[in-house]
Symmetry: C2
Subunit: 112 residues, 2 copies
DNA sequence: TGTACATGCAACCAGTAGGTTGCGGATCAG
DNA sequence: CTGATCCGCAACCTACTGGTTGCATGTACA
């Protein structure tokens, strides 16, 4: 792995920050329309706007693009989502651990 | 619950999209310095910039602010992170389910 | 071959986001 | 009281982002 995990977490959270992009991810997860034009029909914006969003998702490696004839099929690739979940769980665990330590210290201080 | 979950997911992913903000969350999770001035000393930017970021985190309810004397103590509040993880897991589950259905259909079609 | 559809690329535009500086108001220490 | 902090608010600037339009390319098909 060439790129450090930080970069990926960054691009993944960045990609997920936009509601339209999350909507696209949801649609792709459900196996919905997989071309930019098809997706554009379901949303109030241009095909090019959708294409840009798909490009961002591809940048985060959340989506793969495969050209089939004259159309481009997009497919979800959920692995990078694990990176995001991993970051969150690390932070949560650290926080919980610290809370646990605090709790123990309080109980030690007040042994009644 | 007054605010629909969508809004919260939106603000949470939005807050987490910025590297500086994630850094702040990590520091707070480790129980590090909890005032804007203190955090500013550890990062190459102004106290006001940090304050803005903390404001964004507070907007996502990822952080609570408590005034103590002349300083403001910030504390992590990890619950909203669960919303984000929930969204991701929903998407992943749908995708996996669809892949499972596809696999079953393929096997049914090719019963050798 | 000619027409219609699906893309990609580039230019352009308005709004927002991240950052800075410059205040003025509280609060603690001497 | 005075000075040193710590803070919040507001104005301002720049860069990026989300969107649009226009155009040129490539593929399907009659």
């Amino acid at each position: 792995m060439r790129a450090p995990a930080h970069r990926q977490v960054d691009s993944v959270f960045g990609a997920l920050a936009d509601p339209t992009r999350r909507r696209l991810v949801e649609t792709l997860a459900q196996g919905g329309t997989v071309t930019a034009s098809g997706l554009a029909e379901q949303l109030p914006m241009t095909r090019q706007a959708i294409a840009k969003h798909l490009s961002a998702l591809r940048g985060a490696e959340l989506v793969t693009a495969k050209r089939v004839g004259r159309e481009t099929r997009y497919e979800l690739r959920p692995q990078p989502l694990d990176e995001a979940v991993g970051w969150i769980q690390t932070v949560s665990a650290e926080w919980d651990g610290r809370l646990g330590a605090l709790r123990r210290s309080v109980e030690a201080r007040r042994p009644g």
